[in-house]
């Protein structure tokens, strides 16, 4: 239930965003971390909590709104981006967040996801990607790798997987980022970047499903392997990775490859990240599913473009200015009107 005491925004803490509902994800689920990082980060934004709205669809991730003490709407499968768009358009002052999963956002709700991004409403979309269907107990998802053996694909899946950041870039998203459930600090930064981006923010969060797809991202989170497989992106910084930070990304024509700094290659040969460069973002997005390249996390792409609700408001202001503020009586009496005695 809602807490009825008034809370001053600057005094908010993590606990203010903890609802009274028992969290019912499986013990050890990656979702716990995402919930915790969100609750930790939100007080920093300095707005009172009644101005946050979480909208979700269906799936494990979509239970999220029940656990965070803001306004929340747990809706129907795949439609959260469209419902969130209605919330935002009705009241652009609200900070609107969509919580969704790989099935919810990219399969049943694929249409709404891409159209939200192309319209560029100022909504933050957190897509928990565990590459499996959890709530329906273990079928392959639209991000599962080709040939995945699951209950519904005993001989292996026949679908080529979606590549979420590439899809987002293809839909002309203005903010595309990725993080990992175990990278708590990085995730908080990404949540913050998403919040401050004016326009649709697409944040993919790799999330481990302990029950049906455990270890999917182990190579990105295990101490021994993570440094060689994770490329942490920073704006205007060379793309270096590895325990010794001695590996880098080099562009050979248009083809990215891993180089090792030493006699043959120097820092100058390493590609420098530029969040505003769509081509670089596109190249980075295609590292997904490539065994020979590290997995980029961080902001792949961030640009300012006109925001839908701003333009809508602009039209309303213009119409009021040029046609005059609507007057119903005057309006219905104009044109071909006649009088009957």
């Amino acid at each position: 239930m809602a807490k009825s005491e008034l809370v001053k925004p600057q005094l908010l803490t993590r606990m203010d965003f903890v609802s009274d509902q028992t969290v019912r994800w499986c013990p050890g689920c990656g979702n716990y971390s995402i919930l915790a990082q969100t609750q930790r980060k939100f007080p920093d934004f300095g707005i009172s909590k009644e101005n946050f709205v979480f909208v979700s669809g269906i799936g494990c991730s979509s239970r999220f709104p029940y656990y965070i003490d803001t306004y929340g709407f747990h809706t129907i499968h795949g439609r959260a981006p469209a419902i969130a768009a209605g919330v935002k358009l009705a009241n652009p002052e609200l900070s609107v967040w969509v919580v969704t999963g790989d099935g919810d956002a990219l399969s049943i709700g694929g249409n709404h996801t891409i159209h939200l991004m192309r319209r560029n409403l100022d909504i933050n979309l957190l897509m928990f990607n565990n590459r499996i269907y959890g709530l329906t107990k273990g079928q392959y998802s639209p991000t599962s790798e080709l040939g995945k053996v699951t209950k519904s694909t005993p001989m292996g899946s026949l679908d080529r997987p979606f590549n979420p950041p590439a899809l987002a870039l293809g839909a002309d998203a203005t903010f595309v980022a990725r993080t990992i459930d175990r990278e708590t600090h990085h995730m908080q930064n990404m949540i913050s970047r998403a919040y401050y981006h004016h326009g649709t923010s697409f944040l993919e969060i790799y999330q481990n499903c302990l029950i049906f797809n455990d270890g999917e991202f182990r190579f990105l989170t295990d101490k021994e392997t993570r440094d060689d497989h994770v490329l942490i992106l920073e704006h205007r910084k060379p793309m270096l990775f590895g325990k010794e930070r001695n590996k880098g990304i080099h562009l050979d024509g248009n083809a990215p490859k891993v180089i090792e700094l030493g006699d043959e290659w120097s820092k100058n040969d390493v590609l420098v990240h530029d969040e505003r460069d769509w081509i670089i973002a596109s190249i980075l997005s295609h590292f997904t599913y490539r065994g020979d390249l590290p997995t980029p996390i961080g902001v792949l792409y961030a640009v300012d473009e006109p925001v839908y609700e701003d333009m809508l408001d602009d039209q309303i202001q213009k119409a009021m200015k040029f046609q005059g503020k609507g007057d119903f009586k005057k309006f219905v009496m104009s044109g071909s009107v006649w009088h009957v005695e």
Binding site: M1, D69, I76, A82, A85, G86, A90, H115, K318, S336
Partner: protein, 610 residues
């Protein structure tokens, strides 16, 4: 030649031609003029789904029928008295409907070998005596407009397209109607193309002059002004009236109007109209699909707007799941279905009343929704307004069942005074000492609390999972589910408290009762009026709400020996009435993509009562 003016009570004219011939425009102009003159009128546009079907073919025929009258009329007329046919195909398609000895006006220039063949004529009907029982005016309209516009140096095609104005001018002459409203309209319509104003005006005058100078017309007819209730009038079609009703509700409730929708025939005009109301602060979203349209509207309702979506049958099917969410979340939402022929894509431009079951029952689970249906184009205003009022008062989605006939058909509309419309009260919950409970209900009507995001201290979560009574928490408790299902049903039942006692047209009991809903009202009323005039004991009830049904309906039904329910479907209301009241209601069920003719209903009434 001196005009011999004969007064007639009413006339039915049908303008028919190729889809590119401008027949909808011609009919609309004629309607506007007769409205301004003070006639009562009712129109029936009838056009193909294709934007431009192959020229000259039977499939490409577009028509517009209107009845204008000196008395209060309810329908566009059963059969035309006058058929204006701009090409052979339109004559072929529409001649069977013409009254015996009716008048035919044709553009004889189009009766060439090629077009006769396309229309399937073996010989030219203008020459082979097959039309001899009719009064035929065969006029070279194309040549005459060409003559009239010769010195304007316009392309031949442009001049040719003015022939509809010629036909219109001639009809104005025949029925003693003024040209000025049309000329004024042309000046506005083509304000940036003075050449087109000139060409069309000349064609209009040429048609009028043709009537006056050619000695073939012996009589001009006059239809006196109808005795309508005093006030200001405008001619309006259903989709426009509906849009205005929504706008009025937004103003009276002081809630911003949000519309989410996807273009679909014949509902798109509602989106177009609302999109033009930006200066009223109206927000419209042309969504990526039907589902997104209703979903965005649900989001806007959650955030405290007056939320609307409109569609037609196939779109309604796509919206069903989201409608269920609105039922569960108990949010106000108005969903308009401008029905068309189905199933599937069906007959996009033809009318039908076959989505009644879909509206009342077409969702998973026990998912009751109030359903209201307008009776006439002008009534679409009142119904849209009432739907908004009930949606807000009861915190429920409301379905409006309009149809293609109402949406595109028009009639004179007594412009309402917005100050006299019923109040629409909105009570957003504010922070108080009591702990906020999202599913705490109003004791009288069972509407739940509406607290919108942005309200301090009332943060809460709602959703599609079953809610615990009062708290709104998720609940899988068996007793709670039973209770919530009953509460939602009772809430919708309570809408019947809003209804006035049912009006019976005719005597309170008797041999036969005609029961109608939606757009069939006019034809039913006309048919019942006729048989009452013959001295028969027949009455008529028209239902505005089809769910819930009026509380007094059951006791009225049993006072009649027989019940007849005419519907443009295979008996959907009949089945509901039979199930609800265990009465032996008979259906009159025609699904031909057209509204009922009063004559069709009259015939069945007469058969039933002998």
């Amino acid at each position: 030649m001196a005009k011999k003016i004969k007064s007639v009570e009413g006339v039915v004219i049908r303008f028919a031609g190729d889809s590119g011939d401008g027949m909808q425009l011609t009919g609309t102009r004629f309607s506007e003029t007769t409205a301004i003159v003070g006639n009562d009128l009712s129109t029936l546009p009838d056009y193909p789904a294709e934007i431009r079907a192959p020229a000259g073919t039977l499939a490409g025929v577009s028509a517009f029928q209107l009845q204008f009258s000196a008395r209060d009329i309810h329908t566009p007329g059963d059969q035309p008295d006058v058929l204006v046919a701009m090409n052979p195909a339109s004559l072929k398609v529409h001649l069977p409907d013409l009254v015996p000895n009716g008048t035919i006006i044709v553009n004889s220039n189009t009766f060439s070998k090629k077009y006769l063949k396309l229309a399937g004529y073996e010989s030219n009907p203008l020459e082979d005596e097959s039309l001899k029982e009719y009064t035929l005016y065969s006029i070279e309209m194309s040549r005459l407009v060409e003559n009239a516009c010769r010195d304007l140096n316009l392309p031949a095609g442009t001049v040719g397209r003015t022939k509809n104005m010629f036909a219109l001018g001639l009809c104005y002459w025949m029925y003693n109607q003024p040209l000025e409203p049309t000329i004024k309209w042309l000046k506005i319509k083509f304000s940036k193309k003075p050449n087109l104003v000139e060409a069309n005006t000349r064609a209009l005058h040429a048609g009028y002059a043709y009537g006056e100078t050619e000695r073939i017309f012996s009589t001009v007819y006059k239809v006196e002004a109808a005795k309508l209730a005093p006030g200001e009038y405008r001619n309006i079609n259903g989709n426009y009236a509906l849009s205005l009703g929504l706008l009025a509700a937004s103003i009276k409730s002081n809630l911003p109007l949000f519309y989410g929708g996807y273009p679909i025939t014949p509902a798109s005009d509602i989106l177009h109209k609302l999109a033009s109301f930006r200066n009223f602060g109206v927000k419209t979203l042309q969504a990526e699909d039907e589902i997104a349209g209703i979903s965005a509207a649900i989001g806007a309702a959650f955030a405290g707007n007056l939320a609307i979506t409109a569609t037609s049958g196939p779109g309604m099917a796509l919206k069903s799941e989201a409608l269920g969410l609105a039922v569960m979340a108990e949010l106000p939402l108005v969903v308009i279905n401008v029905q068309r022929g189905g199933p599937s894509t069906g007959l996009p431009t033809k009318t039908e009343q076959s989505d009644l079951f879909q509206a009342v029952m077409g969702r998973n689970g026990e998912s009751p929704i109030p359903v209201i249906a307008p009776a006439t184009p002008g009534d679409c205003f009142n119904v849209a307004y009432e739907a908004c009022r009930i949606a807000i008062k009861y915190m429920t989605p409301v379905i409006v069942l309009s149809d293609g006939y109402l949406g595109n058909g028009s009639e004179p509309w007594l412009i309402p005074n917005i100050n006299r419309l019923p109040e629409i009260k909105v009570n957003f919950v504010k922070l108080s000492k009591d702990t906020f409970m999202p599913y705490l209900r109003d004791e009288t009507n069972l509407a739940r609390n509406w607290a919108i995001p942005g309200t301090t201290g009332l943060e809460h979560r709602i959703g599609g999972l079953e809610k615990e009574d009062i708290t709104g928490d998720i609940s899988y408790d068996p007793e709670n589910h039973q209770k919530m299902v009953q509460l939602r049903a009772q809430k919708v039942e309570n809408v019947a408290n809003e209804m006035e006692p049912t009006t019976v047209f005719g005597s309170e009991n008797g041999d036969l009762l005609v029961l109608s809903w939606g757009s069939s009202e006019g034809a039913c009323r006309t048919a019942v009026e006729r048989v009452i005039n013959y001295g028969k004991s027949v009455s008529h009830i028209h239902l505005r709400w089809v769910n819930p049904l009026p509380r007094d309906l059951g006791e009225i039904l049993i006072r009649f020996k027989q019940i007849l329910i005419p519907e443009i479907n295979m008996g959907q209301l009949s089945k509901i009435i039979r199930a609800e009241y265990l009465v032996d209601a008979k259906g009159l069920n025609l699904v031909k993509g057209k509204p009922f003719r009063a004559g069709e209903i009259e015939k069945v009434i007469t058969e039933l009562i002998g």
